[in-house]
Amino acid sequence: MAVHHLQTPFSEAVIRQLRVEDIVYFNGTLFGIRDLTQIYMFDQNHEPPVSLEGMPCIHTAPSLRKIGNRWEKICVGTTTSTRMDRFSPDLIGKYGVRAIIGKGGLYEESLQAMKKHGAVYLAIVGGAASLETQQIEEVEAVYWEHLHPEALYKFRVKDFGPLTVAMDSHGGHLYFDVKKEALRRLPGIYNQLGID
């Protein structure tokens, strides 16, 4: 388990170094996206008003408050990624996103896009929103404000993590591995419980 301290934007070379089960912390910019953000982008064909090239995107659950022109954080957590799987290959292929952060992981097509373009999936500890909120230094911008709380958010973060590399650019997929191992162990477990 290697521990990496990174800075955004991420280069392809840096991302290709990451392997499943490595731990990542990073500083810099983090974009927050959600179901509706991506429906708006991909199904309704709206070009993002800011470049996502080399950037990490998090499946965010933001509780924010607007004071004048400034957005302040109340509590920002992470939501389940699997719901947004179908957008991920384009996020990586079309917009150059280098890291998708969330919980629960993504599926095969996303894994292939990561392999092809050089991107990773980083798993955050779900439920630990108080920690995540503390690591977000500022809400720098909210694009497509009318979609809030599912807009496009630009956060500035410091020592954001720990994030576990759960899908890498070499075809490694930690969730698949863990599931496969659990299924391998199940017959033995059934046996212990007296289940034939």
């Binding site: 731990i23 509780s63 500890v125």
Partner: protein, 293 residues
């Protein structure tokens, strides 16, 4: 002697919701620390460290541990030695849940199932979820509050087995549910299991099981035995914290049981995420309140 000002129930309902979201019960903290000490996989240890840090930050800043403030559930036990007004209790609990949401303020998650409109109050038709039970030899109103987030609630399962399937079918169902749920319910949480009853009662039993203090066994030794067996089985799957692999996949398995029909053999699983949130208060007829977990 119905002279209690029921406003106290509203204040308590509001306070309980906020307390549950910000202050993790001591038994859950102990269980998380023990899990961290026992865990051997390096990435899983990092996850436990982050969990414990999140709890600490929530303490220091009096803030939410998790942004999913869930749907509010109040489990109420009405003491027999005072004439409690059930309707007033229901009204005030509802108002208290709403006020917690608006006054803290935090995101309300209650939504109309067809229009998907969210009133941002955490309540609405049928909400909060209210359970009433009645106990003797006390005059107090005992309220347990649990906010239920969607990551874990979406993984709930129930099945009506037949008597011919035996107890082993129930055990297999629980283990299979946990493996199938994987990372989604933010493991390692409390696995609540209901055994017996009717289809609705078995789910309610599973829900009651998740709010029992972690480490407390079912008083029936036969049931407690199955709890321990299932804990060991679930940890042996290697699912680990956040489904990323590890030695600890559950903090505890709790089973609640009820009698069922001679032709039935129901089981239900309701998972609570690692921040197994709950709070509790006792209200006495003189308006005195005791808070706990």
């Amino acid at each position: 002697m119905n002279d209690l000002d029921y406003q106290v129930v509203e204040e308590v309902a509001k306070e309980l919701y906020i307390r549950a979201l910000c202050d993790l019960p001591p038994d859950v903290r102990v269980a998380l620390k023990k899990a961290y000490e026992k865990e051997t996989r390096a990435t899983a240890r990092e996850a436990f460290k982050a969990m414990l840090k999140a709890v600490e930050i929530a303490d220091a800043q009096k803030t939410l541990i998790c942004q999913d403030t869930g749907l509010p559930i109040y489990m109420v036990k009405i003491g027999s030695e005072y004439c409690w007004n059930g309707y007033m209790i229901k009204e005030k609990l509802t108002e208290g849940a709403k006020r917690a949401t608006l006054e803290f303020p935090f995101r309300g998650s209650s939504t109309h199932p067809l229009t998907r409109k969210n009133p941002q109050t955490s309540v609405g038709k049928g909400l909060p979820v209210l359970y009433f039970d009645y106990v003797k030899d006390t005059d107090c109103l005992d309220i347990l509050m649990a906010p239920k987030g969607s990551g874990s609630e979406n993984m709930s399962t129930m099945k009506m087995f037949y008597p011919a399937h035996g107890v082993k079918a129930l055990k297999k169902f629980v283990v299979d549910t946990v493996v199938e749920s994987g990372a989604n319910p933010c493991p390692p949480g409390v696995i609540g299991v209901g055994i017996g009853g009717t289809s609705d009662l078995v789910m309610r039993l599973a829900k009651e099981a998740i709010v029992r203090p972690v480490g407390q066994r079912n008083p029936d030794p036969e049931v407690a035995e199955i709890e321990m067996e299932l804990e060991e089985a679930i940890n042996a799957t290697g699912i680990g914290p956040m489904g990323l692999g590890g030695d600890i996949s559950t903090l505890a398995v709790h089973i609640e049981m009820a009698y069922t029909h001679i032709t039935q053999n129901p089981v239900a699983v309701n998972t609570q995420c690692w921040p197994a949130r709950r709070s509790r208060a006792k209200i006495y007829p003189d308006g005195h309140v005791e808070y706990g977990y």
